[in-house]
């Protein structure tokens, strides 16, 4: 079990693993050192739970290189941690998604409303929990936000990822995929256009249907499979659209509101991978 800032989910899964009679090797990244020059397999499978993407990706690469399969695999993590990479594999697999543009300068970004109109959404290409995402309603607001982004130290903010705003019914749907199954989904309901529960959105059990399951499974497969959180919105005309796929899922709220223990699914899936 690889982590940097362990939370309820990590403690819960560790208990489940031990209850199943398996030994848990803790890898607390904040007090660990990885020797890249002397690789040897030290576990049958690893569950990646670090919330920092750069720590997760580098430690996943380390374990895979030393012969330990990781949930999720390196390819899935790299794709899911970058919205542009995610969108491109979704697009190539014909999965319906919102119209999205990327521009690399303020001048170019200011032209995008000609194609997208207002309001539009501008997001960092990395990170989640709705952090630093903005709903932009007019040209002056866009200019202001672009100036702030261009002034940010990190180069990723000079990649202007702009997306059409979906008039969704004040909720989105987080569909969980584990391997080739869709065990549970939740609605995330909020007055705020950003429905993340991390921002106060309320979670509620969602009804699954064949179409929703199929679109979630297709999206999960497109990014490389594993344990994934597929974020879907309901567009009035086009129906289900996939917004994003997340590779390190929080599931405490889901357990609380649905009673479904996703931690158990993840642990069983990891044990299955260990036996392959």
């Amino acid at each position: 079990m690889i982590y940097d800032h362990p939370r309820w989910e990590e403690k819960h899964m560790i208990k489940l693993i031990e209850e199943l009679g398996h030994e848990v090797l803790h890898v607390p990244l904040r007090s660990s050192t990885l020797e890249l020059s002397n690789l040897k397999k030290i576990a049958d499978v690893a569950i990646q739970r670090a919330i920092s993407s750069v720590r997760a990706i580098t430690s996943t690469a380390f374990f895979e290189a030393s012969g330990t399969p990781v949930v999720n695999n390196l390819n899935t993590q790299i794709i899911c941690d970058n919205k542009v990479l995610t969108d491109l594999v979704l697009e190539k697999h014909g999965i319906p998604r919102p119209k999205t543009f990327v521009a690399y300068s303020m001048e170019e970004a200011m032209k995008i409303p000609e194609k997208l109109g207002f309001p539009l959404v501008i997001k960092p290409i990395q990170g989640s929990w709705g952090r630093l995402q903005a709903l932009v309603s007019d040209e002056e607001a866009l200019r202001g936000i672009l100036e702030y982004r261009e002034a940010m130290p990190s180069p990723q903010f000079k990649v202007h990822y702009m997306q059409e705003y979906i008039k969704k019914p004040q909720r989105d749907i987080r569909v969980f995929v584990v391997g080739d199954r869709v065990p549970v989904a939740i609605y995330r309901i909020s007055q705020n256009w950003r429905t993340n529960t991390a921002l106060g959105g309320r979670a509620e059990k969602a009804e699954l249907n064949a179409e929703l399951e199929e679109i979630a499974l297709k999206a999960a497969k497109a990014v490389g499979g594993g344990v994934l959180g597929v974020d879907v919105v309901e567009d009035p005309e086009r129906g289900y659209l996939v917004i994003e796929v997340n590779s390190n899922v929080d599931f405490k709220n889901t357990y609380r509101v649905t009673g479904h223990d996703l931690g158990k699914d993840i642990v069983e899936y990891a044990i299955e991978i260990a036996k392959r």
Partner: protein
């Protein structure tokens, strides 16, 4: 298990299953603290800032 908050000195009660790297909030001063645990030795230090690459 009681440990001192490095910011305000208040005593913090840590859960039995506390883990290395875990983030704990000091109830008296609100500081975000990171657990440094090796063997039975536990100390708290001010947690690192949330970074832009943190998330699901």
């Amino acid at each position: 298990m009681k440990v001192k908050c490095p910011v305000c000195g208040a005593e913090i009660e840590l859960p039995e299953d506390v883990m290395d790297g875990e983030i704990i909030e000091c109830e008296s001063c609100g500081a975000q603290l990171e657990v440094k645990k090796s063997g039975d030795k536990i100390e708290l230090k001010v947690a690192e800032e949330a970074a832009e690459d943190w998330g699901e």
